[in-house]
Amino acid sequence: MILRLAIGSLLARALTVGMTVLAIALSVALFLGVEKVRTGARASFADTISGTDLIVGARSGSVQLLLYSVFRIGNATNNVSWESYQDIAARPEVDWIVPISLGDSHRQFRVMGTTPAFFEHYKYRGGRSLEIREGHGLGDLYDAVIGADVAAALGYAVGDGIVVSHGLASFTDHDDQPFRIAGIIAKTGTPVDRTVIVSLEAIEAIHVDWQSGAQGQGRTTPVEVIRAMDLTPKAITAALVGTESRLQIFGLQRWINEYAEEPLLAILPGVALSELWQIVGVAETALMGVSLMVVVTALLGMTAMIFSSLNERRREMAIWRAMGARPGTILGLLVLEAMLMAAAGAVAGMALLYLGLVVAQPWIDAAFGIWLPIEAPRPREILVLATVIAAAGLASLLPALRAYRLSLADGMMVRI
């Protein structure tokens, strides 16, 4: 009956209580949303590469190498020479090695030169292989295989012709050597979805007439001549390496890092990723802190609302006291009301979050490549909601103690 009366009391003040519940709901949705994006981003990043033991590139920072080679974020400051690549490939510890060459683009998407071995060895989300949804892999020199987002965003189908642009933000196209879309990769939720993949030789072919990043004037080598040329690259951007045994990873890493012919860097993707989290962690903590403050603000608003209602509820408290309720019962009643408001806010906040996820999930995936799963609340989220409800009870103790003292002083004799 006490619970029913507490709910009735809240419903009787529907407008102010509703606003308070809405504020709590929005703050809870924001807090859980930030947490969802944070874990979603981490999971998406962690799922991007799997089964690769080392990533090798020119010596720079390990996070930088990870970002440009796997996530297509930023650029390499230098390349790895083909000789060095072959030296690494010849090491007995190496089970497989896949070269990648970056630097050109098609529209807003990066173009990556690689070998067919990429499709064999690149794994994501716990060991899943790339699957070509339509068409086939790289066959001809001018074949391109595109990611699902590239196909969706630009409306491409197998057989369509595309032209690769030189560099990442240039107005110069390699329009003398157009590519044909040979295949479209099924959606992976990784940067592969936003990549145009061509052969390593093709990257070399489109740069035949280029020197030091600029096109030689008036020189246009015919395609037939290019096809007959030796298109072995002089340099690559990076290489993904798998070892014969995991025990050999550190030995090979040390060998590459101490390679005398050229300054190279070999990184373990997992270690580099945790370094990245350490950097991003500060921003994450700040974001969590801000959203936590929003929850605290909403609870303070609720406390202020209870405080302001105390005076007009003195008569009501006097009735409770006259019926035999102790001052402690009055205190408990106000705490119960606050916890009911917080519970309603928490549930509404959760509902808002799921609604937001349903609406924003495809957009966030397309825009940022972050997949936010819609799934049952995790124990951590339930704990957050329980903490909000408990914090509301705790915050309401201030006005509740005031009500306690008022009801002691007023007794049952409040005149209105």
Binding site: R4, A12, A322, M323, R326
Partner: protein, 231 residues
């Protein structure tokens, strides 16, 4: 000889921080089943006296006894429980929790009084019987209290005071918000039901015309001396 329903002996009480209002009651007694009208002007200490009798506050000195129990021997929590068990309270107006159903309002004191709940037996049935006896509509129990007229609310307050037949009913100017015609009907119902329950009735009022219905009429100044300004 049965214990008096209410007995005050040499009671002294002063409100802390209320303009120093203090009250002294040398002696006052009410027999079981007796009805007493206590007449007094505003600020004469009526509310303070009722607070002492209901155990909301404890006397600084002297003895306040209700239904044979010396309230001075009880702690604050025990006095609250005692009030729920043995005293039915009716206010001047705004008696009910307006957002609650009439049934919940009537049954509320039983939440804090297990013995009174046991006395009431089928509490919902008893609430319905009291409402019918007080001339309230048959469907009133399910209605929200705030939607009733003032007169109906006062009758619901009587039903709440009488449920579980407490030995003492304390009424603080329960008719002042009612018009003259309704006052008579209300008092007739109150007396009938208090008599049926065997409860003593202590009513406080400033209206001398009500006196004819009561066994005794007492002026507050005859039993209480007060100093300062009452709340």
């Amino acid at each position: 000889m049965p214990e008096p329903a209410i007995a005050l002996t040499d009671v002294v009480f002063a409100w802390p921080g209320r303009g120093g209002f203090s009250l002294h009651c040398p002696t006052f007694e009410m027999a079981p089943g007796e009805s007493v009208l206590l007449l007094g002007a505003s600020g004469s200490g009526k509310s303070t006296l009722l607070s002492l009798i209901c155990g909301i506050v404890a006397a600084d000195r002297g003895r306040v006894s209700v239904d044979g129990t010396d309230l001075g021997t009880l702690g604050a929590g025990a006095r609250d429980r005692f009030r729920a068990e043995r005293i039915g309270v009716i206010f001047q107006q705004f008696n009910l929790l307006p957002y609650a159903r009439v049934a919940d309002n009537i049954l509320l004191p039983l939440q804090f009084a297990p013995a009174r709940r046991a006395r009431a037996g089928d509490a919902a049935g008893e609430a319905a019987r009291l409402c019918a006896a007080l001339g309230l509509p048959g469907d009133v129990l399910a209605m929200q209290a705030g939607r009733l007229s003032v007169g109906q609310q006062q009758r619901v307050a009587v039903a709440r005071a009488l449920i579980g037949a407490p030995p003492v009913i304390v009424a603080d100017e329960p008719t002042s918000a009612l018009d003259a015609a309704t006052q008579d009907a209300f008092l007739a119902l109150l007396f009938d039901q208090a008599g049926a329950a065997g409860s003593s009735l202590l009513m406080v009022s400033h209206d001398e015309r009500l006196g004819a219905r009561f066994d005794r009429v007492i002026r507050l100044e005859d039993i209480v001396s007060a100093q300062g300004v009452a709340a």
